[in-house]
């Protein structure tokens, strides 16, 4: 106590210290020995208690703001999942590059001459192996949409794919992805009807890439014939010599063969399919809208709160709280609302993404990827909207003068 009083006096310069007797003389002084001392009150306590005053209102505000977080988390994790699927799909079986027809808007529309393109690709000194594929989406069994991939029986990609049997060799053979096998309830030795033909299942494979694992591979010639697209391929997987510069080869191939695009990563997938880009811009739109709506919700609630507490804020100012402290307390309240909305929204968002990813058709194409960056984007959005929504009420609060606030009793 003495040192405290002395420090206080030094700072102010000319104030007499209070007699310490006042603070030590206490008839009930002994009563508290052994009782836990209450925790000191902090700014965070004050802000926290404020949120509890209108618990329902706080909950509704948090829920309202969390919808934006839900949108961000759900969209971003699904899009990221699609990206990851594309990324791993491009490198199926250890391929370095995937080749598609240039100038198409969706990968499924890509169509190249099988032999001619293969010959041109193999002309490059760094290209070691080329495997042609023909992708198609069609109804199989009771599943309206199934990816069916025509593959070359001796394509290099087979060697690196985990399977419980041999890859297809004959025209009447099929190999199922693990998810397809599960959903069709088929195993090796069974037959499956694809496009009116009974094919024998020779193996079940597991690539780890959802679109393939939910799909079926058949002999390239079988699918070409079934679709009336003899001699055509939609994609080529290219294996390069060790040490080759993937980007340089891609550029060289595109220059030498104008009708193709060479894709090494998901970032370049827009060359053959802009679905991901469309989804990504939609996600950004939703993110932006949810930040704006969220900040309006915060603005509305905090503005009401500040008006209701005008008198109290006046008292705080009168007992020595600075404008800056009032501003900080109000902004902190918005930020806590935002933080709570982040937690609630992240949980709901993950729940929704999981729910979508087990839905009938979606489960064959998307599996959400939750990355730190998804939650980073959500957190940044929440901070932004809290500050945007909280700024005006906080400035209003800081402008409250004690003399006026104390006048309305």
């Amino acid at each position: 106590m003495i040192s405290l009083a002395a420090g206080w006096n030094n700072k102010i310069g000319r104030l007499p210290a209070w007699p310490d007797t006042l603070l030590t003389q206490s008839p009930l002084g002994l009563q508290l020995i052994g009782m836990p001392t209450p925790r000191p009150l902090t700014l965070v306590n004050v802000v926290w208690k404020n949120l509890y005053r209108q618990p329902l209102r706080s909950c509704f505000t948090i829920l309202g703001v969390s919808l934006g977080v839900v949108a961000i988390v759900t969209f971003t994790s699904l899009i990221q999942g699609v990206r990851d699927t594309i990324q791993s799909g491009l490198h199926l079986g250890g391929a370095d590059l995937a080749i598609y027809q240039a100038g198409v808007a969706a990968d499924i529309l890509s169509s190249l001459d099988e032999d001619e393109t293969r010959t041109k690709l193999l002309a490059d000194p760094d290209v070691r192996h080329v495997a042609a594929g023909l992708g198609h989406v069609m109804p199989v069994g009771n599943q309206r949409i199934t990816v069916v991939m025509g593959v070359e029986p001796d394509g290099f990609t087979h060697h690196l794919i985990e399977a419980n049997g041999p890859p297809i060799r004959a025209l009447d053979e099929a190999s199922l992805g693990v998810m397809a096998a599960r959903s069709f309830k088929k195993k090796v030795g069974d037959t499956i009807n694809i496009g009116g033909r009974e094919l024998r299942i020779v193996s079940v494979f597991n690539t780890g890439t959802i679109v393939y694992d939910a799909g079926i591979t058949v002999h390239l010639k079988t699918l070409q014939e079934m679709l009336g697209r003899e001699g055509r391929a939609s994609a080529f997987f290219v294996d390069l010599r060790d040490g080759a510069d993937v980007d340089a080869v891609a550029a060289r191939l595109e220059a030498a063969i104008p009708e193709i695009v060479a894709i090494g990563s998901a970032d370049e997938y827009h060359k053959v399919d802009n679905g991901l880009e469309v989804a990504q811009s939609a996600a950004w739109g939703v993110t932006l809208a949810s930040v704006l709506i969220g900040s309006l919700i915060v603005l509305n609630t905090m503005w009401m709160t500040v008006l209701e507490r005008t008198r109290e804020i006046g008292v705080l100012r009168a007992v020595g709280w600075s404008r800056r402290r009032v501003l900080a307390a109000t902004l902190l309240e918005s930020l806590i609302v935002g933080a709570a909305a982040l937690v609630v929204g992240a949980l709901l968002g993950v729940g929704l993404a999981q729910f979508i990813s087990v839905a009938p058709v979606a489960s064959q194409f998307v599996k959400p990827t939750y990355s730190a960056s998804t939650f980073g984007v959500a957190a940044a959005a929440v901070i932004l909207l809290s500050v945007m929504g909280g700024a005006l009420p906080a400035m209003r609060a800081a402008r409250i003068t004690p003399s006026e606030a104390l006048r309305y009793e």
């Binding site: 405290l4 009083a5 002395a6 420090g7 206080w8 006096n9 700072k11 102010i12 310069g13 000319r14 104030l15 007499p16 210290a17 209070w18 007699p19 007797t21 006042l22 603070l23 030590t24 003389q25 206490s26 008839p27 009930l28 002084g29 009563q31 508290l32 001392t37 209450p38 925790r39 000191p40 009150l41 902090t42 700014l43 306590n45 004050v46 208690k49 509890y52 005053r53 008198r311 109290e312 008292v315 705080l316 100012r317 009168a318 007992v319 020595g320 709280w321 600075s322 404008r323 402290r325 003068t401 004690p402 003399s403 104390l406 009793e409």
Partner: protein, 228 residues
């Protein structure tokens, strides 16, 4: 213990003027005032005569339009708003007619509110608050929330909140306005005792004529002036 020369005058005002409503209302119309350090002064007068306005000037809550005002040696007319905040935080204690406690906080927490963000470490804030509450006879209500306290008890908590910064001047604006006369008397006894113990200057605005008897000096205000 303290080698600073104590200023003899706690409040020195010359020709204080404060107008409202674009000058149509002169809440203070030329107030001259000297209050000595450690004195107990009562300010009486009819409603609307400018008592609260005068306290607002002394506590640096508001600023005079003209005139000179020094409180504890500080020239209030020259202060920036940042300096007034710190002046209120360090030199002034305020008790209002209504306790204005925050209902969700315990007595101990309410008393600590002015110290939030200050230099005094947390555990010491709690100790100060508890010691003050025990001093005003609320040692057994430390954890009670305002709604569970009586009117007199709430005002005592409010007094502790005003004292937690160890102010040199305690200003009370009709502090017993909402109390019955017995609790009111007890509150004035307490304020006067605390003044004697701490040496602080006590200025109380009141309608209660009995307070005048207790005070060392009584000022009467009328129409923005001190009449006696």
């Amino acid at each position: 213990m303290n080698n600073a020369t104590p200023a003899t005058a706690a409040v020195q005002a010359r020709g204080l003027v404060k107008r409202y409503e674009n000058g149509r209302i002169a809440a203070l119309d030329g107030v001259d005032l000297d209050i000595a350090s450690g004195e107990f002064t009562a300010i009486c007068g009819p409603s609307g005569c400018g008592k609260s306005t005068l306290l607002n000037m002394i506590s640096a809550i508001d600023r005079p339009d003209s005139g000179a005002l020094r409180v504890c040696g500080e020239d209030l007319a020259q202060m920036t708003s940042h300096q007034s905040d710190s002046f209120r935080r360090n030199v002034i204690g305020l008790v209002f007619q209504l306790h204005n406690l925050i209902p969700q906080f315990t007595a101990t927490e309410n008393v600590q509110i002015p110290l939030i963000g200050g230099e005094i470490p947390g555990p010491q804030r709690v100790m100060r608050a508890m010691e003050l509450l025990r001093r005003v006879g609320l040692g057994d209500r430390l954890g009670a929330r305002p709604p569970t306290l009586s009117g007199g008890e709430r005002q005592r908590v409010a007094i502790c909140r005003a004292l937690v910064n160890r102010p040199r001047v305690l200003l009370a604006d009709e502090p017993t306005g909402a109390l019955d006369s017995r609790s009111g008397d007890a509150l004035f006894d307490l304020l006067d005792e605390l003044r004697k113990e701490t040496g602080m200057t006590l200025i109380v605005v009141t309608h209660d004529p009995r307070v005048a008897a207790r005070a060392q000096r009584t000022l009467h205000m009328l129409d923005g002036r001190i009449s006696a």
